[in-house]
């Protein structure tokens, strides 16, 4: 989706101060972030994944006025309601009577579960069953596509030429479409600033982005 989350290259914002704080300031921020990781470490039955995509679907005029953790509140509410774990009415009256979702004998993540999750080897690399199509040094062009679902191909790279800078092996493909893309070789692609931004780019500068093989086409000649 070409939604507001795909911010690379947009003008008009004002940079904040570089704050030096631990980012969880408020008690509710600590709770909502703890909740996110707890459920991530041991998903509640029925709780749908895709919180990142839910955040991307926040209407732009609201998204731009939300803090980071407010977006997670939004997405977690969507997930809980969509997953049938709580109703809007229950969330509106958290001290009222509650229904029990029909999810059997679930035991929520313990502190030990979540610490093990946070400390686990989290590599997204998976066994390669195909040869990579590109090698470092190859020139590629990013597919110009504007899918209706979630994509990790930023708009500012689409249609532009770059050089394969690194090959990271095979990683799970994160785009919603195509559903049958399966796992894909992942590359870092280097673009010159001029290729992306024209005269606005400094000739000495480069922008690197990670893109899956699905996003890339060969440049011949």
């Amino acid at each position: 989706m070409n939604t507001i989350h795909d911010l690379g290259g947009m003008d008009g914002f004002t940079l904040p101060e570089r704050d030096q704080d631990f980012p969880l300031h408020e008690e509710w921020e600590r709770q909502i972030w703890g909740l996110a990781l707890a459920v991530w470490s041991k998903p509640i039955p029925g709780y749908p994944g895709g919180l990142r995509a839910d955040i991307e679907r926040i209407p732009p005029e609201i998204y731009l006025n939300m803090s980071y953790y407010e977006k997670w509140v939004w997405a977690e509410e969507v997930a809980v309601i969509r997953g049938g774990l709580a109703t809007r009415a229950e969330l509106d009256d958290p001290d009222g009577s509650l229904s029990r979702p029909d999810i059997g004998g679930f035991t929520p993540a313990t502190p030990a579960d979540v610490v093990a999750f946070m400390e686990a080897d989290d590599s997204y690399e998976r066994p390669a069953t195909t040869e990579p199509r590109f090698q470092p040094g190859d020139e590629v062009v990013v597919m110009n596509n504007h899918p209706a679902g979630h994509t990790r191909c930023p708009q500012y790279t689409r249609g532009h030429r770059g050089i394969i800078q690194a090959h990271h092996g095979v990683h799970g493909f994160q785009d919603d479409e195509p559903r049958d893309a399966g796992e894909q070789h992942l590359y870092t692609v280097t673009f010159t600033a001029g290729e992306l931004w024209g005269d606005r780019g400094n000739p000495n500068d480069r922008v690197n982005a990670e893109l899956w093989e699905y996003h890339l086409e060969s440049v011949t000649g």
């Binding site: 509710w28 600590r30 509410e77 979630h150 990271h168 992306l196």
Partner: protein, 230 residues
Amino acid sequence: MSDEKVSRRDFISKSTMAASTVVAGSGAGPAHAQEAEVHEHEQSDYALRAKALVSVLTRKNLINPATMDAVVDYYENKVGPHVGAMVVAKSWTDPDYRQRLLEDARAVMREEGNVGVQGTDLVIVENSEKVHNLVVCTLCSFYPWPLLGLPPTWYKDTAYRAQSVIDPRGVLKEFGTELDDDVEVRVWDSTAEVRYLVIPERPSGTDSLSVDELAALVTRDSMIGAEKLA
């Protein structure tokens, strides 16, 4: 991967909804109606909403409050920029170690046990007199948690995400670092699951310092590339 089964690894990122239900821009259809129900209070107080969510899920025994505390404790007291700072300090004093980091940071971190959620697939890049690296995530706020902890507020800000790729020199200038024109700026946009750490230039006059003393000089923001060390 089937639609029904989403691995824990993909849990946050991979949507279980069919794309056809998420097309934005048109207000009709069941998905829209559901969203409307979900968000009828969209403008209300997020602190209250967060507390309500936690309260309801706790009362339903779907989450354990101690587990939430454990998450915060972990990133507040165990894993944070001091981990990355030690890696940087060692890289300044041990050329072989530095070389191994640049070639395969993940392998070194696995040896050291510095892996974890959101950051095992690590790439380390180095600044020099003529190269400055800057890390950003334009789509979200991907960040190497095992080495730096949770990302700072400014890193997640729309302005930083928007401007770093089109005007990295302007961002750096605003942040207090003016680069010469002939320095090459390399921006790294974390669009997949690879995470980046920058080795800043070692400050001059630090030849006699120990690794621990050097690590104390390394700031969080220097490892993102948002500042140079004095």
